[in-house]
């Protein structure tokens, strides 16, 4: 049996295939070759001693590297759990906060709490989801380098969030809103703008514009595109969170940026209520103004990420 064969078999239990191919096997192959090509009993013994010592060193490094890899994977899991827990917490809080005023109104009219609360959840979710994603990404990834894998994961989470928002806004919100109104009024109520599907809103807007009712058409066009923009908000907020993480600032600064970003986003839509509705009868203007905050968030996130890359490059060179 060539020297090192037993050691190799033993190392197989501890090291991955890559480590075996790259570290253990080349070392043992060189040891076997050196041992076979050396003459003299003492010299061969000395080669074995040096070879076995080298083997122990390589094995120690292998085990250390693979343990670190496991720890890294565990820390990724911990970051994911941390992010998920904080996102769920924020979502519960915000959803509750948004649902409270109409719920109080419902209770004051002698309704039960459970059914109206369930009906209010769909309209609160598309608003609370982007903010909770932002907080989850920032809190979960704080102090971590936004590697390509991390970025891909965040994009995927954002896309899933957007998809969930789309389904909620398109199908759940109109039905739930109408059911809530019927529960409150305790009689059949005509569907309002928020109780019909987005496509119906747009159809009505086009009809109003063609009939010269520009103010109403503008309101409906903006309502339609704002709902679409709200679908994209989940992705925009998640990427904004990634950008904040890339800045690698203190937790307080991260929280402040999150707060300011969210406030600017919400404040923007409140401010638009003061704009003349006829302006939005031009659909392009409605699209532009509805999607502007999302675009701004994406641009800011890109700027944060590229600033981080420039800083890393400067540190490396």
């Amino acid at each position: 049996m060539s020297p090192g064969t037993r050691l190799r078999n033993w190392a197989c239990r501890w090291c991955s295939k890559t480590a075996m191919d790259r570290l253990i096997d080349p070392m043992i192959a060189d040891l076997q070759h050196e041992h076979a090509t050396t003459s003299g009993w003492w010299e061969r013994c000395w080669i074995l001693v040096k070879g076995y010592a080298a083997f122990l060193t390589v094995l120690a490094i292998c085990v250390a590297v693979e343990t670190t890899g496991t720890l890294h994977a565990r820390s990724s899991d911990a970051a994911m759990r941390r992010g998920l827990a904080s996102a769920c917490g924020v979502m519960l809080f915000l959803t509750g906060l948004l649902a409270t005023p109409p719920l109080v109104q419902s209770l004051s009219r002698g309704n039960q709490i459970v059914w109206p609360l369930l009906l209010l959840l769909p309209q609160a979710l598309p608003l609370s989801l982007p903010v909770s994603l932002l907080v989850g990404v920032v809190y979960g990834l704080h102090g971590r380098i936004p590697t390509r894998t991390v970025r891909r994961t965040v994009v995927l989470i954002g896309l899933v969030g957007s998809l969930a928002s789309f389904a909620t806004i398109t199908w759940l919100v109109p039905a739930a809103n109408q059911a809530f109104r019927v529960t409150i009024a305790k009689s059949v109520v005509v569907h309002g703008m928020n109780e019909v599907s987005p496509s119906s809103v747009r159809e009505q807007a086009v009809a109003d514009r063609n009939e010269g009712r520009f103010d109403r058409a503008g309101i409906l066009f903006f309502a339609f595109h704002a709902r679409r923009a709200l679908v994209g908000a989940a992705l925009a907020f998640a990427l904004f969170g990634l950008g904040i993480t890339a800045l690698r600032t203190s937790p307080a600064a991260c929280a402040a940026i999150c707060l300011v970003g969210s406030a600017v986003y919400v404040g923007y839509f409140f401010e638009l209520r003061n704009v003349s509705p006829s302006l939005f009868s031009n659909e392009r203007v409605a699209v532009l103004l509805a999607w502007f905050p999302n675009a701004l968030m994406l641009i800011t996130s890109g700027a944060f990420l590229s600033a981080r890359e420039h800083t890393s490059l400067r540190e490396t060179t």
Partner: protein
């Protein structure tokens, strides 16, 4: 060159316990490539792994050597 040849050529600056780890990392970064010998050497045992520098590795070595010379000259002042 093989791992042990590198150790011998380095004048004991490289250690046989760490040279394979260093080579593995250099390969990950694209500075060298390696291939296993087609058949076990005449002496028997496992096939040995041969390491060759890539063009990137050569360029890096040249740049590093130039930089090191500049530093040595600066510190010698």
């Amino acid at each position: 060159m093989y791992g042990l040849e590198l150790v011998a050529a380095s004048g004991k600056q490289l250690k046989r316990g760490t040279v394979y780890v260093t080579l593995g990392r250099m390969e990950e970064k694209g500075y060298i490539t390696s291939h296993v010998e087609a058949a076990p050497s005449s002496a028997g045992g496992l096939p040995r792994r041969m390491y060759v520098a890539t063009p990137l590795g050569h360029r890096l070595l040249t740049a590093w050597s130039r930089l090191a010379r500049q530093f040595v000259a600066e510190f010698a002042r």
